[in-house]
């Protein structure tokens, strides 16, 4: 750690990991409910568990992004954070608001929550991923503004590198597009249309800028490759991501009431969406190949390089298999979508946040890296998590194929109903639950690596003062 104020990243990272564990727990509940329909009913109905699962994901990823920003911006700008105090205040505001929201989901029926938080004044609740009460949304906007102010002031004072400029653009975009979550017209199609401006333009737009800049930062630090080289690749990759991703939004506008030309635009542009992910993979591996130093933190490098592979598979390959309109006609809203969602989110965003935590956490604790013994456990946990997530994805894909073949493709009268199809898929759901448990084991191994790191602290390379 070169700058004192980088330390504010610590609570953000710790809270992110905590929420990650919560997300996994609720994932297991959901996986069980897919098999035993009345599991935990009526205490935790499926919709509540799912809401908690997905909202925790978003909240912890954002928390990880903020932590990553607080960690890397002082180092990139070469000056202390504008106000570490503000970062701490915002952390508590964010953590308390987030926790209260989750408690709200779990303790009262959703309709009651809507009523007590005054949803009728400005209705924004009850839309997928945007279930947060309106006051929570307002809170998110306030935290985001404070955060952007803090980071923006730091960048204005310090060195402006490509990495921190791209990062701040991504964060700014994240905040701007979130504003569309306050727009909820009574026309369903219009509502859905602009709902995607939050969801798609986040995950296939501005979040990729954040992903790219964090990845570029880790690669510069661990490989010692010339900044110029990394930066031009960063520009090119995110440029390609925007070129394909912006009009690629069209692949969500096939069957929700929007005009039919979106069938063309969505298919054509999302067909080239795997390209930036492919380039990212090639980029990461060629940088590692050209490395000029051996960084002791092998675990962080494993996270970063594995991230590009899994992102390419999840966002690139699994996105492509159901993105063309004629295919999507049959797969839209099936378990195929769930398969793609799981691998893409894990590969692109979960892994990059875990990569930066893996890189930054030892440094925040005064070490170059964790001890070799701790890294061994951590790298094993990466393998377990990646393989389990691949298994979940393959099984959900199989579930989706069954669903499409039984429920969608056959003619009316021959096709079986939704619930009957789900009954057919139960064996696959069992296997998926097992894979989910394996993933949980991976998460615990990851946590165990922190314990090992603490115990073997003396074997870890110390951080040179002002290195």
């Amino acid at each position: 750690m070169k700058y004192q104020s980088q330390a504010v990243a610590k609570p953000y990272f710790a809270f992110a990991i905590l929420l990650f564990i919560g997300q996994i727990v609720f994932g297991l509940i959901l996986g069980t409910q897919y098999i035993i329909g009345d599991f935990l009913f009526p205490e935790i109905p499926f919709n509540v568990a799912r809401m908690v699962h997905t909202n925790l994901l978003i909240v912890w990823l954002l928390c990880g992004f903020m932590g990553a920003t607080y960690y890397l911006v002082p180092e990139e700008t070469q000056c202390e954070l504008f106000s570490p105090k503000l970062a701490w205040i915002l952390f508590w505001a964010y953590a308390i608001a987030g926790t209260l929201t989750i408690i709200g989901y779990l303790s009262v029926p959703y309709a009651t929550l809507a009523e007590i938080t005054g949803n009728d004044i400005l209705p924004t609740m009850g839309r997928e991923f945007l279930e947060q009460p309106t006051i929570t949304k307002v809170g998110i906007v306030i935290v985001a503004l404070g955060f952007l102010f803090n980071v923006g002031m730091t960048i204005l004072r310090g060195r402006k590198t490509v990495i921190n400029m791209v990062l701040i653009t991504g964060l700014l975009g994240l905040a701007v597009f979130f504003l569309f979550s306050f727009y909820n017209p009574s026309s369903l199609t219009l509502d859905k249309y602009f709902w995607w401006w939050v969801v798609h333009l986040w995950v296939e737009g501005v979040w990729e800028l954040i992903l790219g800049s964090i990845l570029a930062f880790i690669l510069i630090k661990t490989t010692g490759v010339d900044r110029e080289v990394v930066e031009k690749w960063l520009y090119l990759i995110i440029g390609m991501a925007l070129i394909s991703g912006i009009l690629g939004t069209g692949h969500h506008y096939f069957y929700i009431g929007t005009p039919d030309y979106w069938l063309w635009i969505g298919s054509v542009f999302s067909a080239i969406e795997p390209l930036p992910f492919f380039m990212m993979m090639v980029f990461a591996f060629s940088m590692i190949k050209q490395r000029r130093r051996e960084h002791p933190n092998k675990a962080a490098m494993t996270w970063a390089s594995a991230c590009t592979i899994m992102a390419f598979l999840g966002a690139g390959v699994w996105g492509f298999i159901h993105t063309l309109a004629p295919v999507n006609y049959y797969t839209h809203g099936s378990q195929i979508t769930a398969a793609h969602g799981h691998l893409a989110f894990f590969g692109a965003y979960v892994m990059i946040v875990l990569a930066i935590i893996s890189f930054a956490w030892p440094q925040l604790n005064g070490r170059q890296s964790n001890s070799p013994a701790a890294q061994k456990v951590e790298i094993a946990s990466i393998w377990v998590m990646c393989l389990s997530m691949l298994a979940i994805t393959l099984l959900l894909t199989a579930a989706g194929v069954i669903q499409v073949m039984q429920q969608r493709v056959p003619a009316d009268g021959i096709a079986i109903g939704f619930m009957a199809t789900q009954d057919l898929i139960v064996p696959v759901y069992w296997a998926r639950l097992v894979a989910g448990m394996a993933f949980t084991v991976g998460v615990f191994m990851y946590l165990a690596s922190f314990l090992v790191a603490g115990r073997t602290r003396d074997q870890a390379p110390a951080l040179a003062a002002n290195a």
Partner: protein, 148 residues
């Protein structure tokens, strides 16, 4: 010799390409928004339909069901439930719909359960109106079959 792959060009592609495609997206959005009223029959979007949509949201129906293919995949698609369960007859559908919601949860052991939402008759009617209106949106012929 000049550089073959320059940061300047990569930056121009990022800013130029990003702006170019975002502008195209805005232009297409403008066109979409102008033709949507016809495709979704906005003239039939009554106060009841709007109230139904609010009820749909306040009870987080999207947490289990899909609507026009978006949502959770735990319970059936409801974008065409008016056709599937109401045979496109409003009176039949409303009778079926309110009986169904009042009978929830079924309590059959091991089966997926739908919570009891305690909606009154007016609310049930408006929610049904919303689903009826939704089923008439021009969705480019989706879903492929009646089973959704």
């Amino acid at each position: 010799m000049s550089e073959r792959f320059t940061k300047g060009m990569a930056r121009n592609i990022y800013y130029g390409g990003g702006a170019f495609f975002f502008l195209l997206f805005v232009a297409l959005t403008f066109d979409t928004v102008t033709v949507l009223p016809k495709r979704e029959n906005r003239d039939q979007l009554t106060a009841q339909v709007a109230h139904g949509k609010a009820l749909w949201e306040e009870n987080n129906c999207i947490g289990c069901h899909t609507l026009l293919g978006e949502g959770a995949y735990f319970a059936p698609e409801l974008g065409n439930v008016f056709k599937r369960r109401g045979m496109e007859n409003e009176a039949v559908f409303k009778a079926y719909f309110s009986a169904w919601l009042k009978a929830m949860p079924t309590g059959v052991e091991g089966r997926r359960q739908m919570p009891q939402f305690h909606l009154n008759d007016e609310e049930l009617n408006d929610l049904a109106e919303f689903l009826i209106w939704t089923s008439r949106i021009n969705t480019n012929d989706w879903p492929p079959g009646i089973e959704g």
